[in-house]
């Protein structure tokens, strides 16, 4: 009997281990401080690297004098961009020329392009000494004008961030979907608005870190790093270093202290420590300081939308046109991927088919951007939720009513959107209603109205977001049709070892998502064996060859893709076990099954332990039946079929496999004098699809909600007019703590994904739901003050200033 419930193939009995609240096995060692994080790794003779960084936003490097560094005993090497320019190739760019010609190295070459950019790296015997020496790097700069704002960087006379590409444009494209002309012709009204998203960062509690070592005998560089896309980064690093992949081994330690997208573009540091270890013939370690992490450890894209929305007077949206300008900072790195990734959620959660988007991504003198939890969709989701509110305001309708008018209806599922995304199920209207009931929407509206005359500022906001997961790399071909990546894939491997233990492994990395527990549950289901009995090997090692080129943990893909690969691997292995058992037990295979590490006959009741089968399979191989190879090892590589696999001429593609959604509702109260914002209630509803482990799913949802709340109300990377980052440490870049985090009510309306084999949806990112609901709630609260919000971040100070501006006018 096969017990796993999959939507492909026959429906099976209910799951036994999948979906169970099994306690997280990884937690046991972590509560004892027995994890193995990158900074814990001590290779003998390790040297330490530190950066000297730019103190300006944009400046030509006239001269760098590093001689003083060597006055400190223990300093072994100092490298600058000048040296790297001749020894490394610039990193590969995703975009085609002209912006594809942009030259990016691990250290600034010729000029610095953002505040905090590394200009020199010092290697010393001790991290304290490396920092001492970094202070002694003497750089002579010639200041250049900065450009910080996305729109300004498009102006004729804007300073150029990279002169050799002739403009500040990284990439531009148009999505002309449906027929917006007719939609706008039919409309009763047009709403125009500007929506901006602000710059913040993923700031995992553990910063980026890596240790490189070089083995002269084999000429192999081994890097231990926290990189979350190791096999995507490996070719970039090897190409820059000019070495083949066989000369480079990439290891990710079993424990990574969070990532949230912020551990992808660290390949610049990995390249540099690799370069240095080859020269110095000793291990070289670099661990970002928090200040460096906030300054360049991956910022979220700042985006400006100019939107026109066409609607009927009953609130039905007919079409929308927009121009989006996306500011990706000084180096694109993983960009311009973000310039197409938003299109995973083109219509948001709404049934709108006539959409025109002109998208431009530009450079500026700010830190590099890249994936940050909810990468590129956060901004687009936010835009929709702001526009829905703008429409409601214009029509004098309740914002929830406008949403009900536009939500995609359940009978249209799976829903093929205007850009060929296939939304894989869910009942949006029913969930939305349940959310509002749980929030007690009506009660809060009444209280709001009743308390306004007393000067109380209570506001209610909702925001629905699509949290698309398991990306299809083919969308990058919209940017560069020759870019050598498409689809997605990952590996699962299961063995029954010589002692009869079931051991599993995948190509993913883990940054706190509890893969060992959840993946063991999948294997347990196939082998009908207690998940506790399934061994899971943590950590990533490129020479294990348990990887696919897309392996890693990003884009909410692990459960969906690696989970499926593992399921297939387990299923295939089970067949082989049964085949061997058939000959040992002398019973027909159709009578046999596995339970609790034993093969048993459903007819005779006879049993043999898995260990018995294993011993025949591995060592007593003379007993193997004809045609069966030794070993009990199964390796499966899974590549999902996205249906609309490749972009068409209108940039339409199904760019992820699953599209989970969540809807957030927030009640806030604004203090009319201090303008402090307090969350009174926050409720979330979501559809994660088949749940493998509820503890893990809930954990991801709470974490994503924290990130959204913190981004909306607190975290903000503020640059002054000269391009100096003013919020570069936790004193000024404030992430919320336990006293700021409100209680949450989490609801789920679970339906199986119609696209993924296990029915699971990727849910790790959360789509930035709270950002929309909070901004909408705050704006609602301050209605009596007539304050209009534009940005995705609001502080009490901003509210005070906006109110003051109103008073002055």
């Amino acid at each position: 009997m096969e017990v796993l419930q999959t939507h492909k193939g026959e429906v099976k009995a209910a799951n036994k281990y999948i979906g169970k609240n099994i306690k997280i096995r990884e937690d046991v060692k972590l509560v004892q401080g027995k994890g193995h994080y990158i900074d814990d790794l001590e290779l003998p003779g390790t040297l330490h690297m530190a950066y000297a960084t730019s103190t300006y936003g944009h400046a030509r490097i006239k001269k760098i004098d590093t001689s003083k560094c060597f006055t400190i005993p223990g300093v072994l090497y100092v490298v600058t961009g000048e040296e790297l320019k001749s020894r490394l190739s610039p990193f590969m760019e995703i975009a085609t020329p002209p912006s594809g010609n942009l030259r990016d190295y691990p250290l600034a070459v010729d000029k610095v392009r953002y505040y905090g950019e590394p200009v020199a790296a010092i290697v010393a015997t001790d991290p304290y000494i490396a920092e001492d020496a970094a202070e002694l790097v003497d750089v002579e700069y010639e200041l250049l004008p900065v450009v910080l704002d996305g729109e300004k960087s498009l102006e004729q006379d804007a300073p150029l961030v990279h002169e050799n590409i002739g403009s500040n444009v990284v990439w531009k494209g148009v999505w002309d979907l449906g027929d917006t002309e007719s939609a706008f012709d039919r409309a009763d009204l047009i709403v125009e608005d500007v929506v901006r998203t602000h710059r913040y960062a993923s700031v995992p509690l553990e910063t980026n870190g890596m240790v490189a070592s070089y083995d002269e005998g084999s000429n192999i560089i081994t890097v231990h790093s926290v990189n979350q896309m190791p096999m995507f980064s490996l070719p970039l690093i090897c190409a820059a270093l000019g070495i083949p992949p066989s000369g480079f081994r990439m290891i990710v330690p079993p424990n990574v202290g969070g990532a949230f997208g912020g551990k992808i573009i660290n390949y610049t540091h990995i390249t540099l420590v690799s370069y240095l270890t080859r020269i110095l013939k000793k291990p070289v370690k670099y661990v970002e300081t928090r200040t460096e992490n906030i300054t360049f450890g991956t910022h979220n894209n700042e985006r400006i939308y100019h939107v026109s929305l066409a609607a009927r007077k009953d609130g039905k949206v007919l079409g929308v046109r927009m121009k989006a300008i996306d500011n990706c900072g000084a180096y694109p790195r993983y960009e311009p991927a973000g310039a197409v990734i938003w299109a995973q959620v083109v219509p948001g959660i709404y049934d709108v088919r006539d959409i025109y988007v002109e998208f431009i991504q530009v450079l500026s003198n700010k830190g590099p951007t890249g994936p940050v939890r909810g990468y590129s969709r956060v901004q687009h989701n936010f835009m929709w939720e702001r526009m829905m509110n703008a429409l409601a305001k214009k029509l004098n309708m309740d914002p929830t009513e406008v949403r009900f008018k536009n939500l995609i209806q359940p009978e249209k599922m799976p829903y093929v959107g205007p850009s060929n995304t296939i939304y894989d199920g869910g009942n949006y209207p029913a969930s939305f209603k349940r959310l509002l009931d749980t929030l007690e929407y009506k009660k809060w509206r009444d209280l709001q109205a009743k308390s306004r005359p007393d000067g109380r500022l209570i506001g209610i906001g909702v925001a629905a977001v699509i949290d698309s997961g398991a990306n299809n790399f083919s969308q990058i071909k919209i940017i560069n049709k020759d870019f050598p990546a498409s689809g997605n894939s990952d590996v699962g491997m299961v063995i029954v070892d010589q002692f009869g233990d079931i051991v599993a492994r995948t190509g993913t990395t883990d940054q706190g998502q509890s893969h060992a527990t959840t993946f063991s549950q999948i294997v347990a289901e196939v082998f009908d064996t207690d998940p506790e009995e399934i061994k899971f090997q943590e950590g990533f090692d490129s020479i294990s060859n348990i990887w696919a080129a897309h392996s890693g943990a990003y884009a909410s893909r692990s459960a969906v893709i690696a989970g499926t690969a593992l399921y297939y691997a387990a299923r295939n292995l089970k067949q082989k076990v049964l085949k061997i058992a058939q000959s040992i037990m002398d019973e027909p295979i159709s009578d046999l099954d596995i339970k609790n590490k034993e093969v048993f006959s459903k007819v005779s009741g006879k049993k043999i332990p898995l260990a018995k089968v294993a011993s025949v399979a591995w060592s007593d191989v003379g007993l193997l039946p004809d045609g069966i190879d030794p070993g009990l090892m199964s390796y499966a590589i899974y590549k999902p079929d996205f249906k609309f696999n490749m972009p068409d001429e209108r940039n339409r593609i199904n760019n992820t496999l699953t599209y989970s959604y969540s809807i957030h509702a927030t009640v806030v109260e604004v203090d009319p004098e201090t303008f402090q914002i307090k969350i009174l209630k926050h409720v979330v509803i979501s559809d994660p699809g088949t749940i493998i482990n509820p503890l893990v799913v809930e954990g991801q949802e709470m974490g994503a909600t924290l990130h959204g709340i913190s981004a909306a109300l607190s975290e903000n990377l503020v640059y002054d007019d000269d391009g100096i980052l003013l919020s570069s440490n936790f004193w000024d870049y404030n992430v919320i703590g336990a006293k700021q985090m409100p209680d949450l009510e989490l609801l789920q309306d679970v339906t199986r994904s119609t696209s993924s084999v296990l029915g699971v949806r990727g849910i790790g990112e959360g789509g930035g739901g709270p950002i929309g609901s909070i901004i909408n709630a705050v704006e609602d609260a301050v209605t009596p003050l007539n304050i209009k919000l534009i940005s995705s971040n609001i502080s009490s100070y901003d509210l005070f200033s906006l109110n003051r501006k109103n008073e002055v006018i």
């Binding site: 202290g257 440490n729 936790f730």
Partner: protein, 164 residues
Amino acid sequence: MSGKQLVNIEINGKKYSAEVEPRLLLVDFIRDTAKLKGTHIGCDTTSCGACTILLDGKSIKSCTMFAVEADGSKISTVESLATDGKLNILQNAFWEHHALQCGYCTPGMLMSSTFLLSRNPDPTEEEIREGIAGNICRCTGYINIIKAVKDAALVMSAETGKEK
């Protein structure tokens, strides 16, 4: 007095002595000299609490003290909580409530909570939030941590009740 100084620090009942530079931060002594890697570093500004330990019974941020200043004192780190691999009540509550994901903040959270419970065996939710206000977690949203501490307090008081 320039140059290195001899310091003796007792960590989790074991004595460590070493000649160190005065500027060596206590957290580096714990991690690099005593090789106890459970205590983590998460910031530059005494903000995150990943480095929290108990110094003579009181929670402190070990990144904001010089090792020479800890000479002669007794320190407990996360490694002291379990006995022979058996989790203590608080650790068990963290496991039970999945009060962690990546686990990077966890040692600091546990030490702050240990200190809180040592003083206040029955903290309110508000007191728990105050007790861990100096510890940043980027993964969990704090809610499960608060539940775990509350639950640990209940279990502890039930156990002391039994003993009586």
